[in-house]
Symmetry: C2
Subunit: 105 residues, 2 copies
């Protein structure tokens, strides 16, 4: 398993398109910044075939520390959710919807 970085992809895209590396870098960086900005503003982003980014709110709740038995309020928080799009799902997720009966013993 390899870890791929933004720089790796910028280099590759510049090579494939013949665009200037600096231009590609600027566009990709702005793209990622815009995603963060839109999520910060409470908007969702939908990129066809790729997926959807959105912010989900988790309600405040009371939880108990199992050791001290102290009850604490866990405040409402936000979490970013990424839902995989159709194309990515088809390519990556294998056997997702198939369940087979267990053989009788």
């Amino acid at each position: 398993m390899t870890t791929v970085t933004k720089k790796d992809l910028v280099d590759r895209i510049a090579d494939k398109t013949g665009q200037k590396r600096g231009d590609v870098k600027e566009a990709i960086q702005l793209f990622l910044d815009e995603v963060i900005g839109e999520l910060t503003n409470g908007n969702r982003l939908e990129f066809r075939d790729f997926g959807v980014f959105e912010v989900r709110e988790r309600a405040s709740r009371v939880a108990q520390n199992p050791k001290t038995l102290e009850q604490v309020v866990v405040p409402a928080r936000k979490a970013v959710r990424f839902k995989v799009g159709r194309l990515m799902r088809e390519r990556i997720v294998v056997g997702e919807s198939h369940s087979e009966p267990v053989a009788t013993r």
Copy 2:
């Protein structure tokens, strides 16, 4: 809440940078395609401040249909996971690590 699309961001990036709309569109589309391609090949992508995309394997397991009591094998499957990066987390996720004791009644 607004839904923002790839086209929205391409237009915005072209306006901000002065790059040709077609060039920006090509770079962004290739970027998203490369992410899907790398995940399909089992690699992870790490974009600083933004987050990490990776594929997790879920093991095969036996489950029971609660209505028919039939046991079925749920096959191993893959799922794409997005882990939010530091910058995005700080901007969006509020009050994440603070829990307050419940007032005694």
